[in-house]
């Protein structure tokens, strides 16, 4: 399908989604379910990946800064800034696009092909608003917390390298983590993460909502949701980095 048609359909769908819910109570119920499903259930994978990446970044930073002219705190500083600026916002969202995005696309796609969405529409429910808005708001409200948790877990991973190996001392690592800290980086990363959270949930919902056919088509919708979310995240990362840094 032509890309302009996709953009048009996506815009029309968002027009139906981004409205005040018909019933606030139903919205908050769905919202709390989504907080648990998209946010809390993502926590284990966020923690595991972040701890390992933090540790790996520390080891790699040390390997690449084996120079007596560079200060010893460089490793901690590099790990912190990489986690803050790129990993815990962008790379984490690329990973979550795989988990959350495919989950949303397959859930809504299955509802579409089994006529559950038609059933809602015929009852007079704005199905797009009822199904998609809580997912977008819930994931966007969980994203800053996931970012903070990921950064903290990554830093702990780096600290573990200092604590359990002789690659770097804990003192040097912690000095680097605290050195020349710019608090704006946190806001920059949170803004990026919020934009990426919107992309993941809205784009995956779009592919699920417009799925037609059978199980194979739901699988295709899920794949498209993940691939296109990733491309759009990287594209927006480039634009936001240029605008915000």
């Amino acid at each position: 399908m032509h890309i302009l048609q996709h953009i048009g359909e996506y815009t029309l769908l968002m027009g139906k989604v981004l409205r005040l819910p018909d019933r606030q109570r139903m919205f908050w119920r769905q919202y709390s379910r989504e907080l648990e499903k998209q946010g809390l259930q993502s926590l284990p994978i966020v923690l595991i990946i972040s701890v390992f990446i933090g540790a790996i970044l520390t080891i790699q930073a040390k390997t690449n800064t084996e120079n007596p002219l560079l200060p010893t705190y460089t490793v901690g500083l590099l790990t912190r800034d990489t986690l803050l600026l790129e990993f815990s916002s962008t790379i984490l969202c690329l990973i979550l696009a795989g988990k959350v995005g495919s989950n949303i696309a397959s859930e809504i796609g299955t509802m579409r092909i089994t006529e559950q969405i038609d059933a809602m529409e015929i009852m007079g429910v704005n199905s797009a608003n009822y199904l998609i808005l809580p997912k977008i708001i819930a994931f966007m409200s969980m994203m800053p917390f996931l970012f903070i948790i990921s950064t903290a877990a990554g830093l702990i991973g780096g600290w573990g390298v200092g604590a359990f190996t002789d690659i770097i001392t804990i003192h040097d690592y912690l000095l680097g983590v605290q050195y020349a800290f710019n608090p704006y980086f946190i806001w920059y990363a949170i803004i990026k993460a919020l934009v990426f959270a919107f992309i993941i949930t809205s784009l995956s919902s779009y592919y699920g909502y417009t799925a037609r056919g059978g199980a194979l088509d739901v699988g295709r919708a899920s794949t498209k949701a993940v691939v296109n979310s990733n491309i759009l995240i990287l594209f927006m990362d480039l634009i936001l980095s240029k605008l915000l840094l």
């Binding site: 018909d22 019933r23 109570r25 139903m26 299955t110 509802m111 089994t114 006529e115 559950q116 038609d118 059933a119 529409e121 015929i122 009852m123 007079g124 429910v125 704005n126």
Partner: protein
């Protein structure tokens, strides 16, 4: 009552509904029958307002659906119950929650207790045992899913009930149960029921009014008794295609 007046619907130049006119009456089971590709599904979707007509009008108790805005159609849909071919129960909700859903979404007058009582009444009406109320749709049989879907469709006291192939995928005995339920509910609540069906048993059992479509045109309409004596070759070919129904016809005439 739904009045269908001279409706035409085409897709990419192919006429699917060709000047169809009929009346669908309250308190009766109105059955739309015909071979695959005859325009049944398009007619049902046009009746519900999912397709915009090329010409003609569909009047819901005098209100023309073709002149309604999207919002007005959504309001009209709150008077409509729909039973889907595959039941279309929400698989993330229990049986009871499925029936409660339309009540929680649209009924602003009932208390939570009254809503639950209403949902339980609807489930009892379709003979769903209380032990099944908290099961998920995937945990109950196809026949039970259909009955729960009927309970959900009647939860808001609809004026119009649409049933798309209600017996699809069911065994003959369960099909009879569903047919009886549709028939009894139609009578009991005075609903205008529209059934899209291929099932000859259903047509001959509960078809108060039968509308036979062929190649998008209204070929014949009448009641189930008149089918036996209808002088229409296409209808005979369709309804009495099997030896079994030929024998039924002989016995009845």
């Amino acid at each position: 009552m739904i009045e269908v007046k001279d409706i035409v619907k085409s897709f990419d130049g192919t006429v699917v509904l060709d000047h169809v006119s009929t009346t669908l009456e309250d308190g009766k089971v109105n059955m739309i029958i015909g071979q695959s590709g005859s325009g049944k599904t398009v007619m049902m979707k046009s009746l519900i307002g999912l397709h915009r007509l090329d010409s003609g009008s569909i009047l819901y108790d005098g209100r023309d659906i073709a002149r309604m805005s999207e919002h007005e159609i959504r309001m009209l849909h709150r008077e409509v119950g729909m039973l889907f071919q595959g039941s279309a129960l929400f698989d993330s909700m229990s049986v009871l929650e499925n029936v409660l859903f339309p009540l929680e979404m649209f009924d602003r007058e009932m208390t939570d207790k009254q809503k639950e009582e209403r949902a339980r009444f609807c489930l009892e009406r379709v003979e769903i045992a209380e032990r099944a109320y908290h099961l998920m749709p995937a945990e109950i049989s196809g026949g039970m899913q259909k009955r729960v879907a009927i309970a959900r469709a009647i939860a808001l006291n609809p004026k119009y009930l649409f049933c798309d192939e209600p017996n699809s995928g069911l065994d003959p005995k369960t099909s009879l149960v569903i047919d009886k339920l549709i028939h009894d509910i139609t009578r009991e609540f005075g609903i205008c029921t529209i059934v899209n069906s291929h099932d000859m048993n259903s047509i001959l059992e509960i078809g108060d009014k039968v509308i036979f479509l062929r190649l998008g045109k209204l070929e014949w309409q009448g009641n189930r008794k008149e089918i036996y004596t209808a002088q229409n070759e296409a209808l005979e070919d369709f309804v009495f295609a099997s030896e079994l129904f030929k024998n039924v016809r002989r016995a009845n005439s």
